[in-house]
Symmetry: D2
């Protein structure tokens, strides 16, 4: 099985690039399963139902969100009826939506996708490690599901690496989101799980994490109310992670980053 | 001019790799100027004078430190007499050592190296942006110095990107340290400054930011005193950034990452 | 029923004062139930079993701990066999000890004591609000227990006040610990629960939260390793909260602060 | 000289109480100098020029602000022309307004008032300790000014106590603001400076730090966008600190808290 994970979509330039290029990427890389983190799609803050529909239509099997999940409030009723749109699993009980979903692919393969949010330098939440352990106790990779994909939406690399090792061997891919800067530490961990601490954003990299650089940088210099942050509008670099999964074990055979368009160095997984 | 910057050296595996490979890398890549961040060289915490001497002997022109600067107290008298060993410039007035140095290379070129520490999710310090602006007001790249290298030791990618744009055109290289995960966002910013939000560590990547994974991961699961953290001892991946600088302007012509040895995908700048 | 709650005991001066004065206070104020937070009893960091025994012998019915619970490791086996010694209830499952206990007083009255730790500006923990709601669902004040006492060990006054209102009417007393500065906001909330956002420490107030002032203050001026913090040794001010509880409802009839000895303004509940 | 300091005014109930009662308090307590922290006067967020004028008219000699300084943007031009309206002194250079002012009282006495903001659990700012030392180097209590009043707007009691001791003997009064819960640790420090770690708010204490309790408490239970916070509207408790200053030395002879109206226990300085 071949998996493509695209990181935080930021603003119009990110949305347009994902919608335009995802169909071709699916074909070119013979992707079986695509996941897109879209928490910043709407002007940098949240996701509208209409945008979610566009991503699904373009080939996203599952969409994940993070700390910006509720920035667009229209998403609340929509997520309640859209099982393939996920918010962090370790949000409090009673939160609308879910943090995991089992998707059945065309060939009948079952794939578990889940997302949790880290706590270091982030919001006060229930333990993402324990939440993940509970969820994984219900699914066995290579037994009752063909692949497991976990989006760990977190700030600190220490928490992400600790997470990766904690569930090494129980997932096909554990990939970080949230910092918007792609990491070059992709590897297959000793237990067989593909890991990358940060997939990076789909947005303009002549920016401050996707937002216009002058206004965003001024916030670090001054202690005054400034202009509203808005997304940078230059050409998007699509940042993603590609994983090839063993059909028997569900573990990873290969992980490669993908960076297409825009300012960053370009790379495509070998086909 | 050709610059090599190596990220946070962690523990024995990192030290040994730097000492063993830096001389060859200098030769192979025809490096004029090498900088090494060594804040985690001593069992993950700090740097001893003896280790610093070994790095200088192996070809480091300048060594930088970060939040772990003082973990080994012997460094305090040593830094006072070692101008090429830097601690963050925005530490309070009166702190031993300095945060910047002008190195004169064999050919007579003057190179300014400086390091500052970020504040987002880090210690309470004076403004790293203003400290940098003050320092840069005394040096003009392409006029009275041939190159400017800035190590921005920070947690948040937003602060690092804001920092890069704030001084774009005034430095040859602005490179982040501290998170220990190499980023793949290296680029030449519009004003001519080479930028990479994180160079990554020189350490074992089968770990939690260089430390043994079982003990480090347990800290995220439990709220109890655990075993002491100690560095992972597997093979080191040397993580670095290579920059080629224009001899006239001091701005960057090329930036490429370097990853040698260990678990991460290997890459070497083209010679 | 009459309850006395004494705040964080800091160092020798705090220990000596509690051991010396608690018996007399119990008698003078006709206390039925005394609780002591002792997380800083041992040189400012943690509690030894021997010290715990001394507090129990002096009249503490229950001892609570906070973020410093495990600073003295000998407490770990001891807490496992000492139900009246509590650590925060919202520590992860599997943590030694418990966060609540039902004490049966001489007259047969059952009193529930519990402690939780806040999350704002503190460690990543499970939700203290939900943990409390679960625990309180098993006990009904005025029905199957005569009083409920909750120690909310937290930094932010917003979290403490939110906690107080969330459980107003379900507890006799909700009192904050951890900041070491007694608050003057004691009141009976509309639902009948006595509330004080911070009881204050039992320690020397010519200090920085109980620790010697020169060394502790220097940490705010400098970014260098300094001398070890150690407790200030001047005369202790015992800081406590006194509550009189209605025998039928278990709700509060009166709340008064107590400050005895040392530098702070002196106050004793009317008898 | 007699000083009255009133803590963070929250919303309409706080504004109305200050405007209505300050004139009488000045007279009754024979106040020479009144300072009011008003950062939450406008619906809990910021201060409008019109409200500032009302406080000045009611007898405030100086008004201080804190982290909410700029929540109402109309205050920016107004502060630039209003020397007696202060924002934290350790905001970055170039910030409108000032952080200190020397007020000349009717009898000719000069009083220095200043305010700084803490950094622990707060924004990244320049060092409040060093900023204060620089300012105090220009003024000598008992020599060229009759009194010095410092508002330390901070979260952590450790930072506030460290601040108090650092400048003990150089100020008449050092009083904390920001947490909105009055402390009962008022004392005259060994060097002669009156100190109280937190003056408390002027607002409704049936609330979460002055805001309506249901909405504010829900934020600790849930991870969802909720209703807007708005100030509680019950009866205000005016919380203040009264200090009597020695006419020769400028140091404190007496410090007493003041709590008038509303739910908290009532106390008035002896006349
Ligand atoms: Fe994001
Ligand atoms: Fe995020
Ligand atoms: Fe480091
Ligand atoms: Fe660091
Ligand atoms: Fe404590
Ligand atoms: Fe504590
Ligand atoms: Fe306030
Ligand atoms: Fe404030």
């Amino acid at each position: 099985m071949r998996i493509l994970f695209l990181g935080d979509v930021v603003g119009r330039t990110g949305r347009d690039a994902v919608v335009k290029r995802l169909p071709g990427l699916r074909e070119q890389l013979r992707i079986d399963m695509a996941v897109v983190n879209a928490e910043n799609a709407s002007h940098g803050f949240g996701l509208s139902p209409e945008m979610a529909r566009a991503f699904f239509a373009a080939g996203a099997d599952v969409i994940t969100l993070g700390n910006h999940a509720w920035d667009r409030k229209e998403i609340i009723p929509y997520i309640a009826e859209t099982p393939r749109l996920l918010r962090p699993m370790n949000f409090p009980p009673g939160t609308p939506g879910a943090g995991s979903v089992v998707v059945v692919l065309r060939g009948g393969h079952r794939v578990l996708v889940m997302t949790v949010m880290g706590r270091l330098f982030m919001d006060a939440l229930d333990c993402p490690f324990r939440a993940t352990a509970v969820e994984l106790s219900k699914h066995r990779i290579g037994v009752n599901c063909a692949a497991v994909i976990i989006d760990v939406h977190a700030e600190a690399t220490s928490e992400k690496m600790a997470f990766g090792h904690s569930f090494d061997g129980q997932a096909s891919l554990i990939v970080g989101t949230h910092t918007h800067c792609p990491s070059a530490d992709h590897q297959i961990l000793p237990g067989g799980t593909a890991f990358q601490s940060e997939v990076g954003m789909c947005g303009d990299y002549d920016s401050v994490i996707g937002m216009q650089k002058e206004v965003a940088a001024a916030r670090f210099w001054r202690k005054m109310p400034g202009e509203r942050l808005s997304p940078a509008e230059g050409e998007c670099t699509l940042c993603g992670t590609f994983v090839e999964v063993d059909d028997i074990t569900g573990l990873a055979k290969r992980i490669e980053p993908l960076r297409v368009g825009g300012r960053l160095s370009q790379t495509m997984p070998a086909v």
